[in-house]
């Protein structure tokens, strides 16, 4: 079994969001970057669990990014990836990124491709579906549970007000979210061995860019909280009804 896990570099969840260059660039100064939580906690860890159940499983990591992504790729190797491929591009267009991933996938015949449900910076939730379409593979989005019996996968997928249980024959692309696996941290042996695991850098193949980010905005600041005394909760209800008019 060969599994490809798509990983992305994102600002830490507590990072202050600000922009430079006339609001066209994310202000990276002083920001800590991490492995995108959905890619790490759910996609990667579930893949590692599959390898633990069947040690013949091979885990490849792919990142489309610049050299500044190498530390998070090393972390993913330390957690349990076998080898990594970085496609050297800092594009933010989903179609372009998905085209790069599909190109690598075509060369390696993966049985399974995992992505996180979205990145916490661009929140596109698009890479999995695009890769599936490019590779003409089945796709199950927003998976909360994944079990494997031979090449038959049973996947729980979140839907409005409940869940759907799907069965699919591999190969397939799965986007992963909470429920798939429990968060882990790399151990010392993993960190040491990650230094010698292969991290191959390749140049991107030509692909179209269908969208571009023109600028960023920040939401307007809140006017400030209106406090209601604890002994008069009826006043809160009056304000919500008459002033905020929310019911």
């Amino acid at each position: 079994m060969k599994i490809l896990i798509c990983i992305s570099k994102t600002p830490d969840t507590t990072a202050k969001i600000a922009f430079t260059d006339n609001n066209t660039k994310f202000a990276e100064a002083g920001v800590q970057f991490i492995l995108n939580p959905y890619d790490e906690w759910y996609a990667l860890v579930r893949a590692i669990e599959l390898k633990e159940a069947d040690p013949s499983t091979v885990l490849h990591l792919i990142n489309v990014g610049g050299a500044d992504a190498d530390p998070i790729i090393r972390k993913a190797l330390a957690m349990g990836g076998d080898e990594a491929i970085r496609v050297n591009s800092d594009s933010s267009d989903s179609f372009y990124i998905a085209s790069q991933i599909a190109e690598i996938a075509k060369q390696n015949n993966y049985d399974l491709i995992f992505t996180g449900k979205e990145t916490i910076d661009y929140n596109g939730s698009s890479i999995g579906g695009m890769v599936a379409q490019l590779l003409e593979m089945p796709y199950i989005s927003l998976a909360t549970k994944f079990t494997l019996d031979g090449t038959l996968a049973t996947v729980n997928r979140e839907i409005e007000g409940g869940e759907e249980i799907d069965v699919v024959n591999l190969p397939a692309v799965i986007s992963c979210q909470k429920g798939m696996a429990e968060q882990r941290i790399p151990n010392m042996r993993g960190i040491m061995s990650a230094r010698t695991k292969p991290l191959r850098v390749t140049e991107p193949v030509p692909a179209d860019t269908l969208t571009s980010i023109e600028s960023f905005d920040l939401p307007p600041a809140k006017a400030g909280v209106k406090l209601v005394p604890a002994d008069n909760p009826e006043e809160l209800v009056r304000l919500l009804h008459e002033e905020a008019k929310v019911f």
Partner: protein, 321 residues
């Protein structure tokens, strides 16, 4: 040139988020001086002509039971054919669970630029620029779509449903449905529950609730308000509440009209999932809780005393005894 809106159904009813998408698509069509049309797949219990109320002039539909089970490949193929035959160049989805499966596939199939998570009408004064949520609601990006066909998926509760007069012409499409590669084995829904992603009012509890046995206070208030219930990450991690109720950076991102945060301190990761709510009410006994800085209204007090009184006052206001 026209706008085509995909209308998603659940148990034979058009989802609320799809009616928002229809109203949004109709507004875009008006700005572009063209018509908005809809597409509904599978058998519904709805009178499709009535979708004209939301500004759709025509509704294309495939009345085939097989499509009542969601299949992203079949849906993508049929929608692509409809785009071909109608010449639509702006395609609207709701950025809901199914939209997240189909829109990216369609983007590749048609090589059409996709903006997912849109929160406002496109600016067409100079090109085609759509504002979307980024950094989990902490900022917005203005994304330019460079292709002839443009695909937008609209975030829930970002565009108000507008109802007018009008009846849509219903056009039945005859299409072959390819065998599905993903078999739906089971669908489990909690009956009568308001889907969190679509809810206009959400009542949410945090660690301050001290344990799952105290959740009656939250659900009573939610019931009085006709609201969905949610929770913070520590609550779902401790299995006090199911995972699907977790809102925040790594859970669901929501934007209801009213968000009640009870016993939630307001860590930045939680705020990321809810800070686009139009009105935020925070009830916390700690006056230093960071959530108060993001709130519109607040009560510093003991939730166990305050919340039941709020519930009573709401019931009184609404005439529920």
């Amino acid at each position: 040139m026209s706008v085509l809106v995909f209308l998603d159904q659940s148990d034979g009813h058009i989802k609320k988020s799809s009616l928002e998408a229809a109203s949004y698509g109709a507004a875009i069509a008006k700005n572009l001086s063209t018509a908005a049309e809809g597409i509904v797949l599978g058998i519904t219990k709805e009178d499709l002509t009535a979708l004209g109320k939301y500004g759709l002039s025509k509704v294309h539909t495939v009345k085939n039971e097989a499509l009542n089970n969601f299949d992203d490949e079949a849906y993508t193929g049929i929608i692509a054919e409809a785009i071909n035959s109608t010449g639509a160049n702006v395609i609207i989805f709701s950025n809901n669970f199914n939209g997240k499966s189909i829109a990216p596939r369609l983007s590749v199939k048609l090589k059409a630029g996709l903006v997912s998570g849109a929160i406002a009408l496109p600016d067409t004064s100079n090109g085609f620029v759509v504002k979307k949520n980024v950094f989990s609601g902490k900022a917005f990006a203005n994304v330019s779509v460079k292709t002839d066909i443009k695909i937008i998926s609209l975030n829930a509760n970002s565009y108000k449903i507008t109802e007018g007069d009008g009846a849509a012409e219903v056009i039945e499409l005859n299409v072959a449905i390819p065998p599905s590669r993903v078999m739906v084995k089971e669908v489990n829904k909690v009956a009568g529950e308001i889907p969190l992603a679509e809810a206009e009012i959400v009542v949410s509890g945090g660690r301050g609730m001290k344990g799952p046995e105290n959740w009656g206070i939250i659900t009573d208030l939610a019931k009085a308000l006709g609201a969905a219930t949610a929770c913070s990450r520590p609550v779902s991690d401790s299995d006090w509440r199911p995972h699907h109720e977790h809102v925040g950076q790594t859970g669901l991102t929501i934007a209801p009209n009213l968000y009640f945060a009870i016993g939630i301190s307001g860590a930045i990761q939680h705020l990321a999932g809810v800070n686009r709510s139009k009105t935020i009410v925070v009830i916390n006994k700690d006056p230093e809780a960071p959530f108060f800085k993001a709130a519109d209204y607040g009560i510093v007090g003991d939730a166990f005393e305050v919340v039941p009184k709020i519930t009573e006052a709401i019931k009184k206001l609404k005439g529920i005894s």
